[in-house]
């Protein structure tokens, strides 16, 4: 599945996401201050980061053949996520256009829990340049 072949409105197959306690801790430590992480919670932005990484990997944009730059980000949070909690990522390609040799793609993601309730949502604009 290549990004240039996808039309706006394309829905990606839902993916499951579970962030373990160890993964949440590793994320908080990597960011720089694990002590700021509320106990028993996944850092809010870790959920969005995991979703965006899946999207980039899914499209083969992390294989070194193209240069990918993150241009803008929106995120919203409905409630905290607990480590080990199963979530589902539902992603839609909202826009996908080439301008002056660069491809601009906006992906919207929603993160829902086991009961189908949204816990977070995000919209990411990435710019892809041939390397």
């Amino acid at each position: 599945m290549a990004l240039q072949d996808l039309a706006p409105g394309h829905k990606f197959p839902p993916e499951s996401l579970v962030i373990s306690e160890a993964e949440a801790t590793a994320y908080a430590e990597a960011v720089g201050d694990a002590s700021a992480r509320p106990p028993g919670r996944v850092p809010s932005m870790a959920v969005i980061a995991a979703g965006l990484s899946r999207f980039i990997k899914h499209l083969g944009l992390a294989d070194g053949t193209v240069e990918v730059v993150h241009a803008s980000q929106e995120a919203s949070f409905s409630r905290p996520v607990t480590p080990g909690e199963p979530l589902e990522i539902r992603a839609t390609l909202k826009s996908n256009a080439e301008r002056r040799g660069s491809r601009f793609a906006m992906v919207e993601m929603s993160f829902v829990d086991g009961s189908g309730e949204g816990v977070a949502a995000a919209s990411s604009l990435i710019v892809v340049n041939a390397s």
Binding site: R37, R41, P43
Partner: protein, 137 residues
Amino acid sequence: MTAVPSTTGDQLEPIDRTITQSQVEAYAAAAGDHNPIHLDAEFAAKTPFGRRIAHGMLTLAIVSEMLTSAYPDNWASGGRLKVRFRAPVFPGESVHVSGEVTKVTEKDDARTAEIAIVVKKDDGEDVITGQAFVPVD
């Protein structure tokens, strides 16, 4: 305990942090983002940046950390943000993450603080700018 920033002009507790290449590598492993522009010096040298850059989401995570500290319950339950990544952060550079309440709106008895988010480098260059919105009691 520091009061929750909920009045126009209130400043959030800023965070100053130096981003290192080892931190970028730890973040790539933790977030699952192995884009070579962050990790592969040879690849990055051929990009317009000329060298490896930190993940934008790594810097944004520090913004989220600041918001979590300022609004321990409400950021994760009703918070939202909208930001632009304006410049890359190169490993070894320091960033100053700040926020200021610019407006408080009230609708249906619910108050929301609008916060201007600014992340700058030591030389004053903007890295991230945007807004966050957090429910306040």
